[in-house]
């Protein structure tokens, strides 16, 4: 009995925090999503109006949803692919590999706001670094952040620049693969491609899985980069109106907390569905064991 009490005493900080900052707000936000509410005055119950309008009459909602899904579908796999590829390269035994690792890793610790400011500068279409280099070889670079077609791509590229963090995780995963597996394979005459296909990648799947889950969860909440780089706007023709940005605007620019709460709830359901789907699938492709 006492043991139970002591146990709960130890986890009580988290329990209190969970109640105050998660559980209660979670329930309140369900309620708020059925009201009109502007924080200053009391919420007024309006029924399912928010959800109905969102789903049927708000083209911007669908646009924002589309942009966010597109980001999750492009940036996350691209990040995984690049991360794994770099990790494979950096796992080679050559001189100075530590320096290479540092160089690839460093951008990922640059604070997000600084990264955004720097990218805004290097992607300046006229006097920025990227188009400057392109111009010197007679290519006219795109109008990156200033054009509807490229603004989104610019953000994906900016995300890739910080791939070093997940690269290190893959690298650690590679180091954990027992060498005996390769020895056995080589005795069986497997070539490099086969070893990669049948040993390296399967052994790496738990780490890829982890990065996939984390990547998708954070992609759905993508906000700061878009907010900073577009200076609180939604980009050319709303092309960087991410879901979280739209939600933020609805809440704190148009003062529509009920609407924003409904949006948050749809986001929650979406994140849960996608995460669960990934978890469902994990037995099929994630390889545990030694």
């Amino acid at each position: 009995m006492k043991r139970h009490l002591v146990g709960y005493a130890f986890i009580s900080p988290w329990l209190i925090g969970f109640a105050v900052f998660t559980a209660v707000p979670f329930v309140i936000s369900i309620y708020l999503s059925f009201t009109r509410y502007n924080v200053v005055t009391e919420p007024v119950w309006v029924g399912a109006v928010n959800y109905r309008t969102l789903l049927a009459h708000d083209p911007l909602f669908w646009k924002a949803m589309g942009i966010t899904l597109k980001y999750a579908a492009i940036a996350v796999p691209l990040g995984i692919f690049t991360g794994v590829a770099l990790a494979l390269l950096l796992n080679l035994e050559i001189r100075g590999i530590a320096i290479y690792r540092t160089i690839f890793y460093l951008p990922s610790i640059v604070p997000v706001v600084a990264t955004s400011v720097v990218f805004l500068w290097i992607l300046n279409p006229q006097i920025g670094l990227v188009n400057g280099i392109l111009r010197s070889v007679d290519i006219i670079g795109p109008n990156w952040l200033g054009s509807e077609d490229w603004a989104f791509t610019s953000l994906v590229l900016m995300g890739l620049w910080g791939v070093g963090g997940s690269m290190i995780i893959y690298l650690a995963g590679l180091k954990d693969i027992p060498y005996t597996l390769y020895e056995a394979a080589m005795i069986d005459g497997a070539n490099a491609w086969h070893r990669m296909r049948h040993i390296t990648l399967p052994m790496l799947t738990p780490v890829i899985f982890f990065n996939l889950v984390m990547g998708v969860i954070s992609a759905f909440q993508y906000f700061t980069q878009a907010y900073v780089i577009m200076d609180a706007t939604s980009g050319p023709n709303d092309s960087t109106l991410f879901y979280a940005l739209h939600l933020f605007n609805r809440a704190w620019r148009y003062l529509d907390m009920g609407y924003a709460s409904a949006m948050a709830w749809i986001l929650f359901v979406l994140v849960m569905t996608v995460t669960l789907t990934i978890f469902r699938s994990h037995r099929r492709w994630v390889h545990y064991g030694n």
Partner: protein, 453 residues
């Protein structure tokens, strides 16, 4: 043993973190800090504004003058960057720690009043004074500051837009008398003659381009609101024509070309960083406050100002007006002090004294009494180009944002609509229809919510 190694390393990490934090703190304490309060014994009045750089200096000076003019309050001016400035204010009022007074220039009054964020200012003065002020104010100041029969914003500087141009450039293009052509169409034609390109057809010098969509509509008609019936007018032939004119101007040069050109020149809106000063524009549309900047940063530059010529069948002396207006949020801790400051700056009680403040920032006055004050007249004599704007003030063709409760949403969407057409992503017809639909949906949503309008 591995454990010892990792443990030692961890210890070092913690040590480095500690040292870094300590050194950082020492540095941060050693570096100069913003000045402490000058009058700690007085009641503080926290004043937010969105001016930066040299404008900030002007505003600080005005706050300073107010502080010296009396001994009860101390106005503490804080600069909040314009982008996201609205959000910051909303958060502050919603969070229960608003400033006492804020200077805004975005059309926020209707939205914020309906959300219960602002105090009616007419209730802060005796009825007789309010009646007097109401009849004294320039009509446009009333349109900007009033909503649902109450005053929520006192303009401490109206802004009007008109043409700035370089007579030398005009002469080079064969315009003998330094005057702008009589119609907008001819002005565009003249602008096209003044554009310059490099070998790769990249724009290097801009002849003429108007301001955004909202600023162009008054030249063609009533804009987005019919003040008599109190209804939004979005899809109208006039608005369509305005959008078409703007879209044509951008399509002729190529939107991308213009946007690249602008990204490559110093676009910062302060000090000498104005493309008109650096010689990248021949004719441009900008606000009257540039006169003051030109005097400071390019005193020898030959330039002239004139109202935008009307398009054929359009309206003369038309412009979009904005205002720098003072608002007092609900929940302000010292509304009385805030109101004293508003009165001081706007000149409601002492127009003669306030006239000088208006000239500091190159702002247009709230009412004729200020215009006629000696200080203001002296300013007009000193800067004859400024007079263009003052003379436009009584014009009936000056529009401002419609006073509907969703103005912020409306103006956001208007600018997206203009953007779509200027980029050529949609035809003007489509873009304007799209805007109309978006606004209708917003209205329908509000109706379902049970709002009156």
């Amino acid at each position: 043993m591995a454990i010892d190694q990792t443990s030692a390393r961890a210890g070092r990490t913690l040590l480095v973190l500690g040292i870094l934090a300590f050194v950082g703190l020492v540095i941060s304490f050693a570096l100069p800090k913003p000045a402490e309060r000058l009058y700690p014994e007085r009641i503080p009045v926290r004043f937010w504004h969105m001016w930066t750089a040299e404008w900030k200096a002007v505003v600080d000076d005005i706050a300073d003058r107010f502080n010296k003019s009396q001994d009860k309050y101390e106005v503490i001016a804080l600069s909040i960057p314009p982008s996201g400035g609205e959000t910051k204010f909303v958060l502050a009022v919603a969070g229960g720690d608003p400033p006492d007074v804020m200077a805004q220039w975005n059309p926020v009054i209707p939205s914020w009043v309906d959300s219960g964020l602002l105090q009616p200012l007419d209730e802060m003065m005796p009825p007789a004074q309010w009646r007097q002020l109401h009849s004294d104010m320039y009509p446009i100041a009333r349109k900007i500051g009033m909503y649902k029969d109450h005053l929520y914003g006192v303009t401490v500087g109206l802004d009007l837009w008109a043409c700035y141009y370089r007579p030398d450039d005009l002469r080079a293009a064969g315009v003998p008398d330094d005057r702008l052509p009589p119609t907008l169409e001819e002005l565009f034609a003249l602008g096209a003659r003044l554009d310059r390109f490099d070998d790769h057809k990249n724009l290097t010098h801009l002849g003429f381009l108007p301001e955004g969509y909202l600023h162009t509509t008054p030249l063609f008609g009533n804009g987005f609101y019919d003040w008599e019936s109190g209804k939004l007018t979005i899809y109208t032939p006039d608005n369509l024509r305005a959008l078409q004119t703007l879209a044509d101007a951008y399509q002729r040069l190529g939107f991308d070309n213009v946007s690249r050109f602008q990204a490559g020149i110093d676009q910062s809106s302060f000090s000498a960083g104005w493309p008109f000063i650096s010689g990248h524009y021949s004719i441009c549309v900008d606000g009257q406050w540039r006169v003051e900047q030109l005097a400071q940063y390019a005193p020898n530059l030959q330039y002239k100002t004139a109202p935008l010529p009307a398009p054929t069948g359009g309206r003369p002396l038309a412009s979009f007006a904005g205002g720098n207006f003072m608002i007092i949020p609900k929940g302000a801790r010292c509304p009385a002090g805030a109101w004293e400051f508003v009165k001081f700056w706007s000149g409601i009680e002492n127009p003669e004294r306030a006239a000088e403040l208006y000239t500091k920032g190159g702002w247009l006055p709230l009412m004729p009494a200020i215009t006629n004050a000696p200080a203001y007249q002296a300013y007009l004599k000193k800067y004859p180009q400024f007079k263009t704007f003052v003379d436009m003030l009584p014009s009936e063709n000056i529009q401002t944002t419609p006073p509907v409760p969703y103005t912020i949403y409306l103006t956001d969407r208007v600018s997206v609509c203009g953007d779509l057409a200027m980029r050529g992503l949609q035809t003007c017809e489509e873009a304007l229809r799209g805007l109309e639909k978006e606004i209708a949906q917003e209205q329908a949503r509000r109706k379902e919510f049970g709002y009156a309008d």
